[in-house]
Amino acid sequence: MLSFLVFLPLIGLLLIWGSPARFARSINVLTCGVALVINLILAFGMKTWDGYSHYVQVDWISAIGVHYEIGVDGLGMVLLLLTTFVSLVSAIASWRIEKYQRGYHMMFLLLLTGMLGVFVALDLFLFYIFWEIMLLPMYFLIGIWGGPNRKYASIKFFLYTLAGSVLLLAGVLITVFQNATDTGLVWSIVELSKTASVSGDLVAGGVGLFCFIGMFIGFAVKVPCFPFHTWLPDAHVEAPTPISMILAGVLLKMGGYGMIRIAWPFFPDAAAVMGTAIAAISVIAIVYGAFVAMGQTDFKKMIAYSSVSHMGFVTLGLVAGTPEAINGAMYMMLAHGTISAMLFMIVGVIYDRAHHRDMDRFGGLAWNMPKYFVLASFAFFASLGLPGMSGFIAEFTTFTGTFASHLVDPVTGDVIYSYRWAAFAALLGVVLTGAYYLIALQKIYLGKTPKVYTDPKTYPDVSLREKLVLVPLAAVTLWMGVMPAVFMDMYKPFTDDLAVTITNAMKAMGG
């Protein structure tokens, strides 16, 4: 059933190939819808959130011990739901794509398969294949249907992610053959993380550190963490609206998912050693991202940098290691998924009308596009972490966790490890986020309306299709803000015992 879900988009793809171009977009929306429904059925079908349900393990390449092993636990399922939901919404949003419709929707579904595959793959080899399958459709989606400077943006995206995943491959290879049992290579993530939780790092010493850094960079490029983020603004500015919705909504979560599922569990000690460095990077990402976002004039670029800033919380939470922190990191991924998708749709709405994204040229849009203003301010306030919406819960939990990760040696009283400095530094980011969002809100929506934006024909209020995209996203953000327990219980079993391994590793390192 799970593999049916993963390969359903391929069926859709073949359907589109067969049918005339007109039906391409409706088939796409239909497939995404069916995928969401199946996903919900699977979710309700899961007995416990703890173990791996819908587990399938079939021999694929016996020569090197690789299995087609897929399964989904709470962690995987919650991200799967996010993926199917965001891609359904993006499919609706890509209703207005005119150029090579058939090609676009086929690439879209190929991308969807890649994404679904990554979240269910439990075999390192299979994971890596799905991880890279996504690159190709993204390259073409940004490259062909993107904005004026798309050629540069797409190749930069491709080069960046490929360089990252090449390092990831190096790390994976060394890990796998160092842990080869006598019966052959062990590729299954489940077994490897079990051994790691028992006997510490899978590869000891300097090489182990190299593997961890390789994997970390591989995932950090996707998150994107501070030094590796320069591809994100270009990719977002050039990508068409639905694609940047998917890129921000789901693709950025892959990096975080990879870290939580693979990098940290495999190398808890190396992670502890690198803890302070990664915390520093995340804090820089949060504060530096916010500052750069404040300095932007391009609306979409501002939101791209705000994503860099928000995703800094994910790595911060992960490094802090307390159950609350990792819970917060995971929740930030979900929250940021829906909120950033909504933000990009809002940019898309005004871009479709004004065909430019320069914030300074906008003004007073609120007065003759009231519904649009309500949705936009909802998204803005959700993103700057207003309570009642998912952003706040995520930020608050991550901060509480980072603050709580503070161990004092009872005897000597000196501090074994503490990430409170990171929490304090990151707090500045919260204010800055508030500042640049409100500045943007004022520049674009408030103040007097330049004449060009007043006539309703060229600047109509939000259309039904756009509402069909924005309202569900807003509803989910609100639902996640008011009742977080529904989602947290899904992934908490996994994150809690990951927290235990990390805190033990940190204690061991410090003590």
């Binding site: 294949i129 050629k151 390092l167």
Partner: protein
């Protein structure tokens, strides 16, 4: 003394004779007849090689028909057949094609013998039988000034490097007191390897092989020759003669490293393997070849030159497998060559068609190919992304095995350099794709119109489409390659 082992070679020679006779007799008949004879002869050679029962005892003390040879003989026959089919419509060859076919067959015979030979004399003889026909092949279109120039360069470069090799071989023969590889192995066994003169000899011998596989110090001829020669000949050189070079190199290196395999106990983190003099030279050359190949390719504006530099880069990756010298590595080498065969033949073939239809190989002329000929564009994209080594394709698995071998032996930095080279290669491969898919045509500029005959389409399909399924289900090829390793290492 049974001669059953040389049946495949014999069949191909028969084919050669058949072609020459057909060429003499039938003045007026269509060129299809000699081509059919040639292709049939090659297929027969391949099938008989498969049927051959491998044995380690040598024929006349010179040829050893072990499993290693079988694989490569099949490999060469298949490549030869493909090249012939690829140029069926090539009106570039005004003559009824007799010369072209006979040269190809001669070259294939040389390659088959080269992989079989375990004697230095026979090795040199086969080496030259491969090179000389390829000089002719390159210069086949006498009217075309570029062909002349490239064949001249090819001849001069080939002759000099084979002379260097020969000089090296003479010393090795002298030192080891025998011309057979066993004698050389015995000499190395009892310490001949450490003499300085032996190291010099190794370097000189490496010159010959470097020329054949276009490794760095002796790679200069490749870009000019591939650009000048007709595309299918370029493909033949890039795949077949390179594979032959590697097969012979493996035989020689096997002779050089008698005492088991591998080197220092735990080389974790070392940069270069130091099994013996030849391996060190190859390792250094491998790194430089990869980097040079990829860097230069960044600058290329013409499809054939780009493919030339990319084949140099791929030679570098394969040399990595040779330097690591573990059974897994050799298996990866063979696997990589097979993958490389599919990718490169198809690439050169499509380049050939494009140049024939559009007149130039300039990358800019490919703009807007997606609109005019989406099928070809998708095929080319699959080839290029497979050459880069992206997962769903065959190329990724080939590279994966090579780098797995490198990392398994612990040469982490060597592996990282290789992987980074892979990333650089993405840039120029994706640039071609970008020209085809991403570029908008200014108005008034017509997209390239490429008419492909049925044979062309079928050929493309046969070579390109397997790149995807083979990328996911490649186990049978892997087992097939595994069978040949004990033979060549057991010596």
């Amino acid at each position: 003394m049974d001669f059953s082992s040389i049946i495949p070679v014999a069949l191909v020679t028969l084919g050669l004779l058949g072609v020459i006779i057909a060429d003499l007799l039938g003045k007026g008949q269509k060129p299809i007849v000699p081509q059919a004879i040639a292709v049939l002869a090659l297929l027969a050679g391949a099938l008989s090689a498969l049927g051959l029962e491998q044995s380690n005892d040598t024929v006349l003390g010179v040829l050893r028909p072990d499993a290693f040879t079988v694989i490569f003989t099949v490999f060469f026959c298949v490549v030869g057949a493909m090249t012939i089919i690829a140029t069926t419509r090539g009106e570039a060859f005004r003559s009824p094609g007799g010369e072209f076919l006979s040269m190809i067959l001669a070259s294939v015979i040389g390659m088959a013998v080269l992989t079989m030979s375990v004697d230095l004399i026979c090795l040199y003889l086969a080496f030259e039988t491969v090179s000389i026909p390829s000089y002719v092949l390159v210069g086949m279109r006498r009217a075309d000034p570029k062909a002349n120039e490239s064949s001249l360069k090819y001849v001069l470069f080939g002759a000099v490097s084979s002379a260097l090799m020969l000089y090296g071989l003479s010393f090795i023969v002298g030192l080891s007191g025998g011309t057979s590889l066993d004698a050389v192995a015995a000499a190395v066994q009892n310490g001949a390897g450490s003499q300085p003169i032996f190291v010099v000899a190794c370097l000189l011998v490496f010159a010959g092989f470097a020329y054949k596989i276009s490794a760095v110090p002796f790679h200069f001829w490749a870009p000019d020759v591939y650009a000048g020669a007709p595309a299918s000949v370029g493909g033949f050189l890039a795949v077949a003669s390179k594979a032959a070079g590697f097969a012979a190199l493996v035989r020689v290196v096997a002779a050089m490293t008698p005492e088991g395999v591998g080197d220092a106990a735990d080389p974790m983190g070392q940069l270069l393997p130091e099994a013996n003099a030849l391996i060190v030279i190859i390792a250094v050359s491998a790194i430089i070849t990869m980097t040079f190949g990829n860097l230069a390719a960044l600058k290329q504006r013409e499809i054939k030159r780009l493919l030339a530099w990319s084949s140099i880069a791929h030679a570098g990756y394969i040399m990595l497998a040779v330097t690591v010298w573990s059974p897994y590595a050799l298996q990866a080498l063979i696997f990589y060559l097979i993958a490389y065969l599919f990718m490169n033949i198809a690439a050169f073939f499509i380049a050939g068609i494009a140049i024939r239809e559009m007149g130039t190989g300039e990358l800019r002329s490919f703009r807007g190919l997606m609109t005019s000929n989406p099928g070809l564009a998708v095929f080319m994209a699959i080839i290029l992304f497979s050459l880069t080594g992206l997962p769903p394709f065959f190329g990724f698995i080939a590279k994966y095995h090579v780098f797995y071998a490198v990392f398994e032996k612990g040469y982490i930095w060597l592996g990282v350099i290789g992987l980074v080279n892979g990333v650089i290669s993405l840039y120029y491969y994706a640039r071609v794709v970008a020209y085809m898919f991403l570029d908008e045509l200014e108005e008034g500029e017509a997209p390239p119109s490429i008419r492909m005959s049925l044979v062309d389409k079928v050929f493309c399909a046969v070579t390109v489409i397997p790149l995807v399924p083979l990328g996911l289900f490649w186990a049978p090829i892997w087992e097939w390659a595994q069978a040949s390793i004990p033979a060549v290492l057991g010596l």
